[in-house]
Symmetry: D2
Subunit: 140 residues, 4 copies
């Protein structure tokens, strides 16, 4: 299980005194990029190879707000991967308050030259590494 942790920044708070909800997709993206890096799939290298991975769906359940300076650990897992679609699940755990902060999923496709492509064809090595992250027993 990959975990990306960082503190909540002051500029992420709003006048309710909590991290504004629009920042959570940013934490998810940061976690995703760090996860791919660890997997040996640099998102920067993917884009340099002309492959983009836009977010096609996002869903977040906010449980308990994070506050300024709270240390939040975002656990990330590949929920589904088919070569043309990637689904990632996230659990935000607030380590400062010892409570579940949020759960979320994001779904992604892969694009090249403005068209949806199979990552298997576009970047076979990245494809293999993502396949290796699927939960055991899950069919492609």
């Amino acid at each position: 299980m990959f975990v990306y942790s960082r503190k909540a920044h002051y500029h992420e708070t709003d006048q309710m005194g909590v991290v504004h909800h629009a920042n959570y997709p940013k934490w998810m993206e940061e976690a995703r990029v760090a996860f791919l890096d660890e997997l040996g799939v640099s998102y920067g290298a993917m884009e340099a190879a002309g492959v983009f991975s836009p977010v096609v769906r996002l869903s977040i359940d906010y449980k308990r707000p994070a506050r300024f300076d709270d240390l939040v650990a975002v656990q990330l897992a590949i929920a589904k991967y088919t070569g043309v679609r990637l689904e990632v699940s996230y659990t935000f755990y607030n380590k400062t308050r010892n409570e579940l902060c949020a759960t979320a999923i994001s779904a992604h496709c892969f694009m090249k030259d403005g068209r949806v492509v199979s990552l298997q064809r576009a970047l076979p090595e990245a494809h293999e590494r993502l396949l290796g992250c699927l939960p055991e027993g899950s069919a492609l």
Copy 2:
């Protein structure tokens, strides 16, 4: 049907050349505040009365990216309202490109003094106005 329109700002774009997906919750919030204003329910006045309305759930389907300077119309409707929970649906329509940009929903509760409250009890007038927005025939 309430519509909130504005152009996409340069600072909202990312290096993919499109409006970054984390900006959509901000557009939704702007549309919600404008809608409540028109309804005679000032969100500022609600907070001044000690009532907060945090986002408890968010879901966005990204269809076609918006780009810098595109004029986007966010249509907003109350999907559900029970006095303790509010669900709002959004359709992002890109008027510059004549295409559907995104659909989304947000869900909200109401808080006062750190506890979930019924808006009916906390702010009866705002409650009545939101009730009046429900689609005809929908039960409370």
Copy 3:
């Protein structure tokens, strides 16, 4: 004198209860783009022609904080323009509170193919229009 006005958004506030200072450069950019539009110089068209105008310097004096839903008018003027460097000055006036909010300047160069260029050479028509905005009597 060109004026760009809009309300402060909820997502722009921080836990101090005011518009976070990092949003002011965004308002400046929005005002700049709107000003150029009115001048007949579309920033989107400039970039489409391969000409970029990065910010090289930014300076902001924060006088009185803007708050959620405040209507702020950003007055914009060309302070200096030489063909290779553009300086813009801004006055943020809070119309809701009838007070000066902030003053600021930004400085810009023009880039094409990764190199600094003269706008006069790169986009003569845009150059002429910017020249026409200089205060009377100011030498090039």
Copy 4:
């Protein structure tokens, strides 16, 4: 010399392919909070004690753009501190590209109960620690 380092996030880029200039004040704030933490002056504790430290002035010189995933080190120093006014200087050094990215300064006052206060009176211990950071030989 205190240094705060982190990578540039994807959501910080714009369509020019670089970190958008409005993110620099956020990096400065992150660096400032981390610096104060190391100094034993928690910004969260300051606010909990009713003392706020708004930005009154900001000035940034952008030298060379940072790009997605670049590692940027923000060196921070106290340039001036009088008890009622704090000035902080920053040097953004891009470690990925081995080049100077930006230099900046921010100026701050201290507020309590809506009024400007002397930090020496409001929080004597924080005052002493900031005094200790002044360059040797600099008069108060």
